[in-house]
């Protein structure tokens, strides 16, 4: 188990390195391939009143005058050991993990990300709870009552659910509930949990449900398909033949086997959401990581986009790793496959 653990963690770190290299390439290599010079790149971070001096200063500060591999190395190094910046009379220390410094907003990147993590997490976790419960439950019921009215109803709703874009459903919910029938008459605004848990949940309810609707639909379809397939497998027949009660057959054998792939997928989906529910946050104007990323992309605030992207990748890799390790702990065969 220990060897497996180490191997997987090592693999995850390697994966993160690759993701960071690709992210880096998108911002530094692709514009070059498309014909931009480093001066032009630097000029984007200068502010409204750019002149050759300030461009040169930013170019030096961002390290844009260095070869690409050195820039990348510096970027990785400062995450691990931190960095020092010279932005005034004194040296500013950026402690590890240091994701750099935004020249547009004159702030360190990491604290900005940390400040937005609670918003994104609140959104993702709440929605995940709702969609797991409702999605899996409808899926199981549909599979067991296959062909019934309930099954057909659930599956129709689920089909509609996966066919509706979240920005449409979200907007519909938002306008209906804040304007048409103003139940949330002051609009929907994020309130930190630590400030007022009641308000927090109340304001998150609509975004949770909008996001969960999409995923519930997906998970219902998946669970149903998985259940139907599993219930036709030999070991279920064996279990029945052994004389087990139907509830035990379903509960102990069927559900467990059917849910295994769902958990893997959940690890992926959930990890992605933790990195920023870009569209949902945009629809509801929640200043989480996703919306921050979009805004920073529009402002060309490269260090921030890099930081958010890497954080997002970290969550995806971490969640996948977690799922894999949990499996390995439960089922020894996984370790050798």
């Amino acid at each position: 188990m220990a060897a497996y653990f180490i191997r997987r963690v090592f693999g995850a770190v390697l994966l993160l390195l690759i993701v960071s290299a690709v992210t880096f390439a998108i911002f530094f290599l692709v514009p070059r391939l498309a014909g931009q010079t480093m001066d032009q790149l630097a000029a984007q971070y200068v502010g409204k009143d750019a002149n050759p001096d300030s461009v040169a200063a930013v170019k030096k500060n961002l390290g844009l005058d260095q070869p690409l591999y050195i820039q990348y190395w510096d970027f990785i190094r400062q995450i691990v050991v931190g960095a020092d910046y010279q932005f005034g009379p004194e040296t500013t220390r950026c402690d590890a993990p240091c994701f750099g410094y935004s020249f547009r907003r004159h702030v360190e990147v990491w604290p900005q990300i940390v400040a937005r993590v609670p918003i994104t997490f609140s959104l993702a976790i709440g929605a995940a709870v709702i969609w797991l419960v409702s999605g899996v439950a409808t899926g199981v019921v549909s599979a067991l009552k296959r062909g019934s009215f309930l099954d057909r109803f659930f599956m129709s709703v689920a089909l509609a659910g996966v066919s509706l874009p979240i920005f449409f459903t979200g907007m519909l919910a938002l306008t209906t509930l804040t304007v048409q029938w103003p139940i949330w008459s002051d609009g929907i605004n994020y309130v930190p949990f630590t400030e007022n848990p009641g308000e927090w949940a109340w304001n998150l309810l609509v975004p949770w449900c909008s996001l969960a609707f999409l995923y519930s639909a997906l998970y219902a379809r998946l669970t149903r398909a998985g259940m139907l397939e599993t219930m036709g497998e030999d070991f279920i027949r064996t279990a029945r033949a052994k004389g087990l009660k139907e509830s035990q057959v379903i509960g102990k054998h069927g559900l467990r086997a059917a849910l295994t792939p769902i958990v893997t997928i959940f690890g992926m989906d959930f990890g992605l959401l933790l990195g920023g529910a870009v569209i949902t946050e945009t629809v509801f104007s929640f200043d989480g990581m996703g919306k921050y990323a979009i805004k920073s992309v529009q402002d060309n605030d490269l260090p921030i986009v890099m930081g958010v992207t890497l954080t997002a990748a970290f969550f995806i890799v971490f969640c996948n790793l977690l799922v894999d390790l949990v499996y390995a702990a439960i089922d020894p065969r996984v370790r050798y496959s």
């Binding site: 000029a43 009143d49 932005f87 004159h106 702030v107 200043d287």
Partner: protein, 584 residues
């Protein structure tokens, strides 16, 4: 013009209303109780006039400021706001209407004393000025503030660099962080603690306006931490920071070291000022309507989604003001991209564009009126003229075709029209321009670029413009200080053509225009100077290189509890934050 008449009408109504209410002894007395006022009342008068101290003025802002550091900001509203904690050499008179454009002394005893050639400007500081820690404010603190804000792009890159551009040796000096010599730049002299002398390369009669910039707000050298200074700023005004949370919020309280006797322009009504950042615009608007906050800091008006709600409600409508925002949207026709090297083709576009449709597209009357000049009506030096008059600003297809014929393009031509992709109003205007040009046979393909790189890499970068044939460039300009020179110099002077990041997108280098500008700025007589700006404006439009589209306006909403509310034309038509008080 129609709007003029309308303004006059409104003004008259307001005066009558004020008179009536004064007789009735209602809200508009000195009690500071608040009230609705009438539509556009704050354009010409002070609404809910008050001198009652106390209460809290609360600001909300939908974005984050570039920085609240007076030495590191370019945002108009921060310039306005920073006056609460940073006194500058001069400032704008907090008054209603055109009076608000007047420059008055602030830290200085009087306006700057120019030498005869307008190259040397001397200011004498008042006595008894103190920072919040009680140390006296000296001319050296002002000098230091100018140095750090203009010469240290490695730390403070947001603000404008006019001082750098005009001071002798400005191109050489490395700034206080790199050049550790405490003597600083030689062309700012501080012979004693109360005198500061600026020595300029060229004549610059608008220097008193530069002295209003928040960059002249004194900063004690020992408290300066470069980009980090914003977290612990030392106040010289009536308020000081009690708390500051980066990107989130700040609270200001009274600064006991501020002496009202030295400061006739700041009534300093509230006891406390709070500001919250990153509140979404619809929420800010709702809070204004519900009277939960005093003012929307950005001063750019309500969200498009709120606009209909405000305009259809008779009661809310009374609380709105619709001032000019001090900015003009226009199209630059690049003289180095064919066929716009031919004045006749440029004139064809001047006649052809349906400005009424453009104005409607960008948000209709609440967001702007069709423009015929570059300088907007709220800027000193505005002269009214219309060289291409058409009925209802709808354009004249016949005249346009006539000029196309003269240009040798009777069937029209194809060109490119650039606009900023993340500015919906600008994209909408470009779309409208495209549609109206189609009627005269000109096919304009819209090229959109992100605002963050627009001038650096695309529209303000001549090599890109030439290579990609960007004949028509959508842009908008608001003056950094509200005079014709402040407005025009950066957009029509030949010297403003830069290899990248320039704002003279037409690449106009007309000796006549350059000469007028350079002579004008050397004229110390204000009236004569302001007359020149109108002439420059006219010369540019005669050359047809710029097509003014819209004078931008904002639809502001003042909550009932806001007192002492007036629009300041000096700060892009937002409310004057120095005057403002709250009944709450």
């Amino acid at each position: 013009m129609k709007t003029r008449k309308a303004t006059l009408l409104v003004a008259t109504t307001v005066v009558l209303a004020l008179g009536a209410s004064a007789c009735g002894g209602s809200d508009n007395g000195k009690g500071g109780k608040g009230g609705s006022g009438t539509k556009d009342a704050a354009l010409t008068s002070i609404v809910n006039k008050s001198d009652k101290k106390g209460g809290t003025v609360s600001f909300e802002f939908s974005d984050e400021p570039d920085s609240l550091d007076p030495g590191n900001t370019y945002y108009g509203w921060v310039q306005n706001f920073a006056r609460l904690y940073g006194r500058t050499l001069t400032s704008f008179k907090p008054a209603a209407g055109k009076e608000g454009l007047k420059v008055v002394p602030d830290l200085a005893e009087s306006l700057g004393k120019p030498s005869a050639d307008a190259k040397t400007w001397t200011y004498t500081l008042k006595k008894g000025l103190k920072f919040e820690d009680g140390t006296p404010i000296t001319s050296k603190d002002v000098k230091y503030a100018v140095e750090r804000s203009n010469f240290a792009p490695e730390a403070l890159s947001n603000g404008p660099t006019y001082f750098k551009a005009h001071l002798i040796g400005g191109d050489k000096y490395q700034g206080p962080y790199k050049d550790k010599n405490p003597a600083g730049i030689a062309s700012i002299e501080t012979p004693d603690d109360h005198t500061i002398v600026f020595k300029l390369k060229n004549a610059f009669a608008d220097f008193d306006y530069l002295a209003t910039f928040s960059q002249t707000a004194p900063v004690p050298r020992k408290a300066d931490k470069g980009a980090e200074y914003v977290k612990k700023m030392v106040s010289s005004g009536p308020y000081k920071f009690a708390s500051y949370e980066e990107g989130k919020a700040a609270t200001l309280v009274r600064n006991p070291q501020w002496d009202p006797k030295t400061d006739p322009i700041r009534p300093a009504l509230p006891d406390k000022i709070t500001i919250r950042f990153g509140v979404k615009q619809e929420t800010v608007d709702n809070n204004l309507i519900a009277d939960n906050i005093t003012v929307d800091g950005a001063g750019t008006g309500v969200a498009p989604a709120t606009q209909p709600k405000v305009l259809t409600d008779a009661k809310l409508q009374k609380q709105t003001d619709n001032p000019y925002a001090g900015a003009t949207s226009y199209i630059g026709l690049n003289v180095n991209v064919a066929p716009f090297n031919n004045i006749e083709c440029r004139k064809a576009v001047q006649w052809g564009i349906d400005k009424a449709s453009v104005a409607a597209a960008q948000g209709g009357a609440p967001k702007g009126d069709p423009a015929t000049t570059l300088i907007p009506p709220s800027v000193a030096g505005y002269t009214k003229f219309d060289l291409y008059p058409t009925e209802g600003h709808k354009g004249d297809v016949a005249k346009a075709k006539e000029h196309l014929k003269k240009c040798g393009q009777p069937n029209g031509f194809s060109t490119n029209l650039s606009a900023r992709s993340d500015r919906p109003a600008e994209m909408a205007m470009a779309t409208a321009v495209q549609a109206s040009l189609k009627k005269i046979g000109i096919t304009a393909e819209i090229k959109s670029f992100p605002a963050g790189k627009y001038f650096q890499n695309f529209a303000g970068n001549p090599s890109y413009v030439h290579a990609n044939k960007l004949g028509m460039i959508m842009t908008a300009w608001g003056a950094d200080w509200p005079t014709g020179f402040g407005f025009l110099d950066q957009i029509v002077n030949g010297s403003a053509i830069k290899p990248s990041g320039g704002n003279n997108v037409q690449e106009l280098n007309d000796p006549k225009v350059n000469k007028l500008l350079n002579e004008g700025i050397a004229t110390t007589d204000t009236a004569a100077r302001e007359k020149v700006w109108g002439e420059v404006d006219k010369a540019v439009i005669e050359g047809a290189t710029a097509v003014p589209l819209v004078y931008r306006k904002n639809l502001l909403l003042r909550p009932q509890s806001a007192t002492n509310v007036t629009i300041t034309e000096a700060y892009l038509g937002m409310y004057d934050y120095l005057l403002m008080g709250s009944a709450k």
